[in-house]
């Protein structure tokens, strides 16, 4: 009693946050598409917007959880949980935190299960090349995580407990092979005079699951994670302001498992520690009604430390360390006139990395990038908006990249608008592709060399008589150049009534000079030596559609679908020329037909979501999401190196997630849910899905009424 009285004294009055409509209105403000605030109804490329309310109601803990429910996004499971957008690999989607890139990718994959969503206010997803504003990696698109600004004095705490049992289907706590996860979040906002402060602390403890019938182990790993995020905001007079965001993320994984190679089973013990730090100061000036200035600094570092100990081969055990740092300073100016806005910016970035997988941990690798970008946004009355932009990135390590983009929105009627865009995206080679010097002593003794070292190392081995054969690709080794993509997106948006929105988009991406790992030489002991080459050309194309319907203020229905077709252009040429082969059912070879071709591996042709939510005025809700993904190729099982109808597939699946919420009082709300109700599991090909999980969350929110004006 006394405690609650104290709380009441501390915070003058409390109330649960006001309701917001589930449906996105065209009035919602987004920033990613143009690098400044724009209403959804006024931007020239489609943006998928996910609000905090939806993230919470879906019971999402990590970025992975909420992204897997979005149209046109597929999860991948090599080197952590990656995301595939418009059929492009995880390394081609840029992931931003308040507009600045997250680093710490493994083999190009930024593990989206690493990122807690507790401190995220909204997520903006832009599909299609966006390098004209964001530079490298924005080939498939951009996912921008916008953090919560410090606002009203607020104290919020939540505790979640979940349990699953992959063997039984239904989890029983504290049983042998049960998977338990506990998440705790504490959110606090307050002011010290005019300085506004917000803290978000998030803790996650989750078990791993040992549900592996055979030796290939890929399961959710036991994890301990702490994320701390602090934002401070200070107004400097009427015309200026300062915001600083700081974020620390710490992961610890630990597990025992077995790996298999050439029929050998090797039992291992693994331990991984990851540390991440982001600091983002932003200074804002309004010079006049027309001119605004943003000065942004960014400092981020990521370090990973992996230890792997083999029981049978202790001398092969290794410890891998990887450190990456990025510093950036950027100036952006927005100049606004009646019917046009000009945005221009200039920036300088230093990126450094050290790794035991490069020549030596002590040797720091560095790439400096200087860049300029400009964008001209022109309004043609109420009818159309056109945006023309371009960016130039100069890298000290490779050739520069120019990435233009043009986009248009045409409002045919108030209820019908069209958008079209053509743009270029690029991805600079990463340090691994330049400097990797890695020999896998466990799995067959193969080696991979970055292009900076490959020629020198292999020539040296050759002089020592260590090389049995140089492959034709060895002569093609040269300085890597950035990968490029050209993307076209056309879409129509139809809003017959405020309660209904229907959107259809068509996309096509043509990707040039994709970097691929190729065997360049063979050692005398038969082990293979690999390096990287700009070789492949590929395309992805498809249709994405989404439909939203709000029924009587209580029901909302949201349906999405994507059809995706992909291909490697060289393979496609060879198929057209009759130079690729396939097997008949009796085992004999025949020439492959066009219809036998599947395209790029690990991509589902079809994907759909159906989300239904019921929510009443008292904030009681039930939110159901049904997700479908069609089969995808995982292994080439007929030896032709091309993915075709005879290959091995992972089975398509349906996933159902249900959550429900019940406010118990003005301050306390209860949430319960079942993730993966149908208990879909695929240990081999999508191990990051943990099977049916039942969870309960209790959330207490104390918010000051007083400071509301």
């Amino acid at each position: 009693m006394r405690t609650s009285a104290v709380l009441l004294l501390l915070i003058a009055a409390t109330q649960v946050m006001a309701q917001a409509d589930t449906l996105l209105s065209l009035e919602e403000v987004v920033v990613t598409a143009t690098r400044q605030e724009r209403r959804l109804g006024n931007i020239t490329i489609p943006v998928n917007l996910i609000q905090r309310r939806i993230i919470q109601q879906a019971g999402s803990l990590r970025l992975k959880d909420i992204l897997q429910e979005q149209p046109g996004i597929q999860l991948t499971s090599n080197f952590g949980t990656g995301i595939q957008m418009q059929g492009l690999n995880p390394e081609h989607t840029l992931i931003l935190l308040d507009g600045q890139p997250l680093i710490g990718r493994t083999s190009g994959v930024l593990d989206v299960s690493r990122i807690a969503v507790a401190g995220i206010k909204r997520i903006e997803i832009v599909k299609g090349p966006s390098s004209s504003l964001y530079g490298s990696e924005a080939m498939a698109g951009v996912i921008n995580l916008i953090t919560e600004n410090p606002s009203l004095p607020l104290l919020e705490a939540s505790l979640r407990y979940g349990v699953a049992d992959p063997d039984q289907g239904w989890g029983v706590p504290f049983k042998n092979n049960s998977f338990q996860q506990t998440e705790a979040t504490v959110d606090a906002s307050y002011s010290i005079r005019k300085l506004k402060v917000k803290h978000n602390n998030n803790l996650l403890f989750a078990d791993g699951v040992s549900f592996r019938p055979f030796s290939q182990v890929r399961v959710p790993r036991p994890i301990h994670r702490i994320t701390h995020q602090t934002s401070i905001q200070q107004n400097l007079g009427n015309k200026a302001g300062l915001k600083i965001l700081g974020r620390i993320n710490q992961d610890r994984f630990q597990q025992e498992f077995s790996v298999s190679n050439n029929g050998m089973i090797i039992d291992s013990y693994g331990r991984e520690l990851n540390n991440e730090l982001n600091i983002q100061p932003t200074l804002f000036f309004r010079l006049s009604e027309k001119i605004r200035l943003h000065t942004r600094g960014y400092l981020t570092s990521y370090s990973g430390d992996q230890l792997l100990r083999f029981v049978q081969k202790p001398d092969s055990s290794y410890r891998d360390r990887f450190e990456q740092r990025l510093f950036r300073i950027e100036e952006q100016i927005d100049f606004k006139k009646e019917n046009y806005t000009i945005t221009a910016g200039v920036g300088y970035q230093v990126e450094q990395a050290n790794s035991t997988r490069y020549d030596a941990l002590a040797n720091q690798k560095q790439n400096n990038v200087s860049y300029v970008f400009a964008q001209w946004e022109l309004k043609g009355g109420d009818k159309w908006i056109s945006i023309l932009g371009a960016r130039y990135d100069h890298h000290t390590l490779f050739s520069g990249a120019v990435t233009p983009k043009w986009s248009l929105r045409y409002k045919a009627k108030p209820s019908l608008s069209f958008t079209a865009s053509v743009g270029q995206g690029f991805k600079a080679p990463d340090f691994r592709q330049l400097y990797l010097n890695f020999t896998n002593t466990v799995a067959g003794g193969y080696s991979v060399f970055g292009t900076q070292d490959a020629i020198r190392v292999i020539n040296a081995l050759n002089r020592l008589g260590q090389i049995a054969e140089l492959k034709p690709d060895f002569t093609k080794l040269t300085t890597l150049s950035p990968e490029h993509a050209t993307g076209i997106n056309v879409s129509a948006q139809y809003t017959p009534t405020p309660a209904i929105t229907w959107q259809v988009s068509i996309f096509r991406n043509d990707i040039q000079s994709l970097i691929d790992v190729r065997q360049v030489a063979t050692r005398v002991d038969g082990s293979q030596l690999f390096s990287y080459l700009n070789v492949n050309r590929a395309f992805t194309q498809g249709v994405e559609t989404s439909f939203q319907w709000q029924l009587q203020k209580k029901w909302s229905i949201n349906a999405g679908y994507q059809l995706l077709l992909t291909g490697d252009k060289e393979e496609w040429e060879r198929i057209k020329q009759g130079k690729e082969y396939i097997r008949e059912s009796n085992g004999s070879s025949r020439v492959m037909n066009k219809k036998d071709y599947i395209g790029l591996p690990n991509r589902s042709k079809q994907q759909a979501q159906l989300k239904i939510k019921y929510e009443d005025k008292e904030s009681r809700y039930v939110y159901m999401r049904l997700l479908y993904r069609s089969r995808w190729t995982v292994a080439n099982s007929n030896g032709n190196g091309v993915h075709d109808v005879q290959d091995e597939y992972a089975k398509g699946f349906m996933q159902l997630h249900i959550t429900g919420g019940l406010p118990l009082s003005n301050t306390i709300a209860l949430q319960a849910g079942i993730d993966n109700v149908l208990n879909y599991q695929d240990v081999f090909y999508l191990p990051n899905v943990a099977g049916r999980t039942v969870f309960v969350t209790l959330r207490a929110t104390l918010e000051s009424k007083q400071s509301k004006k």
């Binding site: 190679n261 029929g263 292994a635 030896g639």
Partner: protein, 219 residues
């Protein structure tokens, strides 16, 4: 091509008639040789099958070759290894021809990129390669080089479709060979199968060939 299909269809219908009379289960996992028209198909030829593991745990065979005569379609005794009675010798992924360092015959081989059926004659400028046992072979070893690919992550070996081995036999005749499968029963295990299954069932070769006994290079 059509004639072959028709005759194969006729033969199939004959065999199915016979099957109707004598219901007999065919052991899909046993060594068998069957000739239909010009094509002989060999199934489940053991090629140094796995007998255990070495000191570091890798599965190994006994190191014995299986010698095979394309002329007679017979598995030749190891006692005749130093004769011209055999044309090909198999152990795991190694295919030896009867010449040079491998045997006393007049053998030779090269890999033709194209289907078995499309190879109707050996072009005059073809170069037959010789073995340099045990370092290198006329039909090279290694993933993606001659007739197979090996995938480390799935631990599976798959013959490459559209690769035909062109063979000069021990007595100087010609033959064309297509490797069909590497596993017992002629079915490659699923990528997710246990490694014990992949180890147990590997090195049982399936291939088909056409032997031209008149000395010409026409098939």
């Amino acid at each position: 091509m059509r004639a072959i299909l028709v005759s194969a269809a006729v033969l199939l219908s004959i065999t199915s008639c016979e099957k109707d009379k004598l219901p007999k289960t065919v052991d899909q996992r046993a060594y068998a040789v069957e000739t239909i028209g010009k094509i002989t198909t060999v199934k489940n030829l053991p090629a140094d099958t796995i007998i255990g593991t070495n000191s570091i745990g890798q599965p190994v065979g006994a190191g014995r070759y299986s010698f095979f005569s394309l002329e007679t379609g017979q598995w030749i005794s190891n006692a005749d290894s130093n004769s011209t009675k055999w044309d090909l010798a198999f152990a795991g992924t190694v295919v030896r021809i009867n010449n040079a360092t491998s045997g006393p015959g007049a053998g030779g081989a090269f890999v033709f990129n194209g289907t078995f059926e499309s190879l109707s004659s050996i072009s005059a400028d073809s170069v037959f390669r010789l073995d340099n046992h045990p370092v290198a072979y006329a039909i090279p070893r290694g993933s993606g080089r001659a007739w197979y690919t090996y995938d480390g992550p799935t631990n599976l070996l798959t013959p490459i479709p559209g690769r035909t081995l062109v063979i000069r036999t021990a007595t100087g005749k010609f033959a064309k060979v297509e490797m069909l499968n590497y596993y017992r029963g002629g079915q490659t295990p699923s990528a997710t199968a246990a490694d014990s299954v992949k180890t147990r069932d590997q090195r049982f070769l399936h291939f088909r060939y056409t032997y031209q006994g008149n000395g010409t290079t026409q098939f």
